[in-house]
Symmetry: C2
Subunit: 158 residues, 2 copies
Amino acid sequence: MSKRLESDLDTSFMDGLIGYNLRRAYLVIARDFAQSLAGVDLGPVQFTILTLIDANPGCTQNIIAKAISIKRTNFVALLDGLEAQGLAERRPSPTDRRSHALYLTHAGQTMLADLKPRIIAHEQKFAAIMSSAEADLLRDLLVRLRRVGADSADETEI
Amino acid sequence: MSKRLESDLDTSFMDGLIGYNLRRAYLVIARDFAQSLAGVDLGPVQFTILTLIDANPGCTQNIIAKAISIKRTNFVALLDGLEAQGLAERRPSPTDRRSHALYLTHAGQTMLADLKPRIIAHEQKFAAIMSSAEADLLRDLLVRLRRVGADSADETEI
DNA sequence: TATTGTTATACTCTATAACTATA
DNA sequence: TATAGTTATAGAGTATAACAATA
């Protein structure tokens, strides 16, 4: 197998680009993440929303949407999906009648407790190929990278 | 502005995940990359294809598709777009009548020469926030990360 | 039988514009 | 006037299944 490797190709220009390498690594991890969620009707973003509601009960849609850099407008359907599955719910906000206070249902908490170990196992598969010092630096560099775009970002806070 | 920061949110679980930080950084760079290509009818993947055909004239669709981890099936429309704009062309392969030999047209070479400086400027905006040693380590870590998924990848070579 | 390219199709994520109800 | 949520819609990017031509 692999009679002809893609290493025959000259990819030198792309290989030097941070963005290109970032995309390649992201795609690999995103696929593995999705496999970790196999059998569950949740996308990666929905899992993230689940964890954030769990850690911040009563928070609003906007707060979460900004925190994870997705548009308010795209948040609606994602939350609709969680609500339809009985995992989360919108309650009227006690302080602002425009906004909703978000909570996990009991089923949502159970689901999250079931999924977290899967995600941690998925993560460890990747963390295993670097030292903890390298992992720390990697996270730090990724955070710094995403702050570069902070000015050009319109409504989605970085 | 920014009367209430998302840092009020407890995002500790997600912050610890490599995949999450990778996604956030990737999205920021991908948006900036797209802006660098503003006014040109090319997506990021099409730009990548353009550079690879330029560096590897006569190569086949499959070789490039594998090199950048996209499906053969999705490559077709991307290349169609390049051909429709007169930037690239499919010629019959001299050795295998199933495959096509890919080449840039003169217009394609001119376009690429125009775009490369834009992409390099885009890259430098991000490279500027780290030392060259950090950038080298980052690229190395990203390559190592994407190789973790090498076994579970079916047809798209990592 | 396996591989290259192809069509058709669907799903996820992201994006913009315009609306409503509140503030 | 601005903000929170919503609807509708569009576009990338990615995914699978099935096919024709060639190896």
